[in-house]
Amino acid sequence: MSIEGRPRRVHSQSPTAQAWRRFRRHPLALAGLVLFGIVLLATVAAPLIGRYDYAELNLPDKFQSPSLAHFLGTDRVGRDIWSRTLYGGRVSLAVGFAAASISTVIGVILGSVSGYYRGMTDQIIMRFTDVVMTFPRVVIILTAAIYLGQSIASVIFLIGIFSWPGITRLVRGQVLSLREQQFVLASRSLGSGNRRIIVNHVLPNVVAPLLASVTFDVNGAILLEAGLSFLGVGIPLPTPSWGNMLESARSLDVLQDGPWIWVPPAVMILLTVLSINFIGDGLRDAIDPRHQQG
């Protein structure tokens, strides 16, 4: 603390800059960020380092174990696993981020309306949220996927529209407490309208806690996609995703005799989810130092 009237620096760090500084000092978060960066880079660079077309059948070379020609071997129709793992990452990550974006948009809108206007509006939105939370997501998506048809877009859409309740509740809680802050009252007594108060005073203060929660939502979406694809209702072949690559392990001979087919996507899911989790933890600690556990 500086002495009244005599601070150390004339420019202070914005809360965002402070959070970033704390994040950088968080070893696990930094490790997560680096790991995730590598995964992301590899999938982005897939056309450069993939060497094979992910969908190209090559029956003479089917079911080969790793070799120089095929780093990670080939699957039962001779497609290159290395290339499919890279391209599959694109799909899995895209699904994760796109679905989380959809649920975030829905969650922020419903949550802030609910928390800001309270009363009947809040009651209706929150009861609706409760109902959606009780849905067995996987079962409903399985059913809905049949009607929508299997495609990347429908998987993203379905995961997105069933994953928002958590975000809604978080945002509602934040908004409920923020709207009672005196700076909101101050702004209102200046004559600011609801729009100005929500945009300038409420939402900027929601972003920080939201960010951490959204990263966990990305994970949720990646895992859900993997689960759906594993069950055969996710991403349709020949497009690879980590989930539908795992699906091949449902047959016993692949599971027992072709570990090179299912281990790479499994490891990639593990690494990605783990790194995003670390980033999320780091963000949470950076944003709210009181949470820090050590």
């Binding site: 500086s2 009237g5 601070p7 004339v10 202070s12 802050q181 700076f183 007594s189 004559g191 600011s192």
Partner: protein
């Protein structure tokens, strides 16, 4: 109070909060937070509202700046020495041009500043909302305001977290002054601060009052602060004004038993004075379910049958001194011996 012109007149102000229950959020009752209060504030003076927590003083002050919509009553406010306008019953759009004339200072220096905004954004917001669109102009004005409240103009791009409680309160004051208001409603502006910092902020307020000709409506629970800064005082109890008088009058010869009890609770700095502390029995009445008659009677040691049956009106007992007590004239109540403002030693 050179010209004794009334700047603000509050008549029969009421604010009830519905108590909502159940799925349909039906109102099952009301908290009568402010239950019909009247007072007026002269231009250039500091008018204090005191009372325990929960007596409705904050609610009343928020109604006056229309941060809350009053349930009933009139709030007449004089704009630019002109006609009085009833701001309680204006629509939002009609009110907008008047808002700049009355501004608020808040109690909590932490929650009253948005942590994600720089001082420029915080202090400049009133300007922006009220149509000062030119950024250069706003920067100039904000720098001027910072200097006025005793902060360095270079702090423009800093965030509130870099400041101490007292400095933050100065920032809040600068924001309130941005639009050159004539009335400042200060809701316990120093009660969250250390005593030494309290004095600095109070002195700043007094200095600004002199320089800018401000009128203060000063809400407080700390009587020594009130004594220091207020010209006249209204004492509130459970949503009503029970006594109003010149500060000196009120401290020397209170006419309401509640005021007497409040005064007896003020710590005396002089150890030779034996203070007789009046300990109030029981709890503050529940504003959702107030007692019959005088709201204070269950805790009043002078209460008689009449007090239980009839609600007393606020009546003037001497010029400028109004009390709502059936026995105001017969009781001889104790004030504090050391008079406020320039003090001569009593023994």
């Amino acid at each position: 109070m050179e010209n004794e012109q009334v700047l603000l007149e509050v008549k029969g102000l009421r604010k009830f909060f519905p108590i909502r229950k159940g799925f349909w959020q039906r109102a099952v009752g009301h908290v009568r937070a402010v239950d019909g209060i009247d007072f007026h504030v002269y231009k250039g003076e500091t008018f204090g509202i005191v009372g325990e927590s929960g007596c409705g003083k904050t609610t009343a002050s928020r109604c006056i700046v229309r941060a809350l919509q009053p349930t009933a009553g009139e709030i007449h406010f004089r704009v630019n020495d002109g006609e009085m306008t009833d701001v309680a019953n204006l629509s939002r759009d009609e009110l907008q041009p008047l808002r700049r004339h009355m501004q608020m200072i808040f109690q909590d220096p932490f929650s009253s500043l948005n942590p994600r905004m720089t001082l420029f954004d915080i202090i400049g917001e009133p300007l922006l909302v009220n149509g000062v669109a030119d950024r250069r102009q706003r920067i100039e004005r904000v720098e001027e305001l910072l200097a006025l409240v005793g902060l360095r103009p270079e702090f423009l791009q800093r965030f509130p977290h870099a400041f101490s409680g007292g400095q933050r309160q100065r920032i809040g004051i600068a924001r309130a002054l941005a639009l050159n208001p004539s009335l400042i409603v200060a809701d316990e502006p120093v009660s969250a601060l250390d005593v030494s910092v309290q004095a600095q902020i109070l002195n700043l307020l007094l200095e600004l009052q002199e320089r800018l000709g401000l009128t203060y409506l000063f809400v407080a629970h700390d009587l020594s602060v009130v004594k220091h800064i207020c010209d006249r005082v209204a004492v509130m109890y459970v949503g009503r004004v029970v006594e109003t008088a010149q500060t000196q009058q009120l401290f020397e010869s209170p006419k309401h038993p509640y005021t007497e009890a409040l005064l007896s609770a003020v710590p005396q700095p002089d150890p030779t004075l034996r203070s007789q502390r009046i300990i109030l029995e029981g709890e503050v009445a529940d504003p959702a379910n107030p007692p019959s008659g005088c709201y204070f009677h269950p805790r009043c040691r002078y209460a008689v049958d009449l007090c239980r049956e009839q609600t007393p009106e606020l009546e003037e007992v001497e010029p400028g001194h109004a009390v709502s007590c059936h026995r105001a004239l017969e009781l001889d109540l104790a004030g504090t011996l050391d008079a406020p403002i320039p003090q001569t030693a009593h023994s």
